[in-house]
């Protein structure tokens, strides 16, 4: 039975997550991408867009881009499958938005007698849910490429499909070791088990983290794995024929996928909202001078802030990789996926199993 407070709680959480991802991270990533590249290449970067003379170190450029592209002509090329051409950006952006639903962004807090767990849906199969939803994005890409009636688009879509398939397999297998370690597929449970700093994923599963991050970048089609949209070979890959808002939708989807995959990474390897050596209940006790509700609210804010800081750092790490490495050739991308990461992740499963059975790894 759904009561009114539960309903309000869920609505607030959904609003918060959508605000965080689409309202905060999507423009911020656009800004980080510009500004971080500028810093890394010793340039100034975008700093002209201003509201009433305030430029706020170029933050308004994302807003200016969005407004500009909204008012651009919406264009469907001759011979394209009109309905599918319109549907493709929607199929790309919706999975990117809903994949965040199972990722916990805070602990359990008791506010005015109402117990709140900061996750929209605590599914028992949270890990599988994220993988399933993330793989739906492949449909958007393939449909976009097919419906455009354009050679570049189709080539980009084929490359994207093969690449995303390959890395999805490897990505699933890199997580198996963690699941063996935590004995759960629920992201909430995995985060709770990382309350002890010595049980964080990054400490016992560092090789898996490297493999997972590589797969994640490839799955999101980011540089150095951006062969599906390589602008010097394929113009813009599968979204060559998209303009205006539909073009933004593909970019939003890509940025949101970065956010989601980084959030999954934070949850699995970096303890989500947990602060090293500090438990949630310990934090609430420490803040006890604010009164029971105040302490819970303050602990909640700190937890969410820690989660966001970890998430942002991980996104900036991916951006650094993006501006450091050159693009792989397509055969190198596939070779890396099938001949290196896949066997390496199978070997890692064996090592984790042996480690747990011999007692080298602690039983969590």
């Amino acid at each position: 039975m759904i009561t009114l407070p539960d309903l309000v709680e869920t609505v607030v959480k959904i609003a918060f997550i959508l605000g965080l991802t689409i309202g905060f991270y999507a423009p911020i990533i656009g800004w980080i991408e510009r500004k971080q590249s500028a810093v890394m290449q010793d340039r100034i970067g975008g700093n002209r867009a201003a509201i009433l003379g305030f430029t706020v170190i170029g933050l308004f450029h994302s807003l200016a881009d969005a407004i500009k592209l909204i008012f651009k002509e919406d264009f469907v090329p001759r011979g394209a499958e009109t309905a599918l051409h319109r549907l493709a950006p929607v199929i790309s952006v919706v999975p990117a938005l809903i994949a965040f639903a199972v990722i916990p962004f805070g602990g359990t807090y008791n506010l005015w007698g109402h117990e709140t767990r900061l996750v929209i849906a605590d599914l028992d199969v949270g890990v599988l849910y994220v993988f399933a939803i993330a793989s739906l994005a492949t449909y958007g890409v393939v449909i976009a490429g097919w419906a455009s009636n354009n050679n570049w688009s189709l080539l980009g879509a084929l490359r994207a499909a093969a690449q995303m398939f390959s890395y999805e397999v490897a990505m699933g297998l890199t997580i198996i070791g963690l699941v063996m370690f935590y004995q759960s597929l629920s992201l909430v449970e995995i985060v709770d088990k990382q309350e002890n700093f010595y049980h964080w994923g990054i400490i016992w599963h560092f090789p898996a983290f490297i493999l997972f991050l590589t797969c994640a970048i490839a799955e999101n089609k980011r540089i150095p794995f951006d062969t599906p949209e390589a602008e010097s070979e394929l113009v813009a890959g599968y979204f060559t024929e998209y303009s205006g808002m539909k073009f933004i939708m593909f970019w939003t989807a890509e940025f949101l996928e970065i956010v989601t995959i980084s959030a999954l990474c934070v949850t699995l390897f970096f303890g989500g909202h947990q602060i090293p050596f500090v438990t949630v209940s310990g934090l609430i006790d420490f803040l006890g001078f604010l009164g029971p509700n105040g302490a819970n609210a303050a602990a909640m804010l700190i937890g969410v802030a820690v989660f966001i800081i970890k998430l942002t750092l991980l996104i900036m790490l991916q951006m650094s990789i993006r501006w450091t490495l050159p693009r792989f050739r397509y055969d190198q991308v596939m070779k890396l996926g099938w001949k290196m990461i896949l066997p390496a992740s199978l070997i890692w499963i064996f090592l984790v199993g042996a480690g747990i059975l011999t007692g080298v790894m602690p039983a969590v």
Binding site: F75, L97, N150, I176, G244, M245, D331, L342, L357
Partner: protein, 108 residues
């Protein structure tokens, strides 16, 4: 959450449909091909390697599907479950080596 997401996506699509100029003429509606008219249609046969990759994906993803439930109860199964699953992974490893040696993972 899904409904809200679809709503946002739909709103974004509608915005671009209604705002923005619309001027159509024949040359502009051509699919982009570096300024040329389209020489070959994209609706034709393409490399068989993409099908092969899709088939390998199914095989290895099913492997992953078997591994997930095993991984959850791994610590209860103990040594028996570990050896059983390593035999399974070994068989798939042999499959991967076979595919590899046959040259199905090569792109030239």
């Amino acid at each position: 959450m899904g409904a809200v997401a679809v709503g946002i996506a739909g709103a974004m699509l509608m915005l671009s449909e209604f705002l923005g100029p619309k001027h159509f003429f024949r040359e502009k509606m051509e699919p982009f091909e570096c300024g040329e008219n389209q020489i070959v249609s994209p609706k034709q046969r393409y490399s068989v390697r993409f099908y092969l990759i899709a088939m390998f994906f199914i095989i290895f993803d099913i492997e992953a599907v078997f591994l997930f439930p095993w991984a959850v109860i791994f610590q209860q199964l103990g040594m028996f479950g570990f050896i059983e699953m390593m035999i399974f992974i070994l068989l798939l490893g042999v499959g991967l080596i076979y595919v590899w040696k046959k040259g199905a993972l090569e792109w030239e």
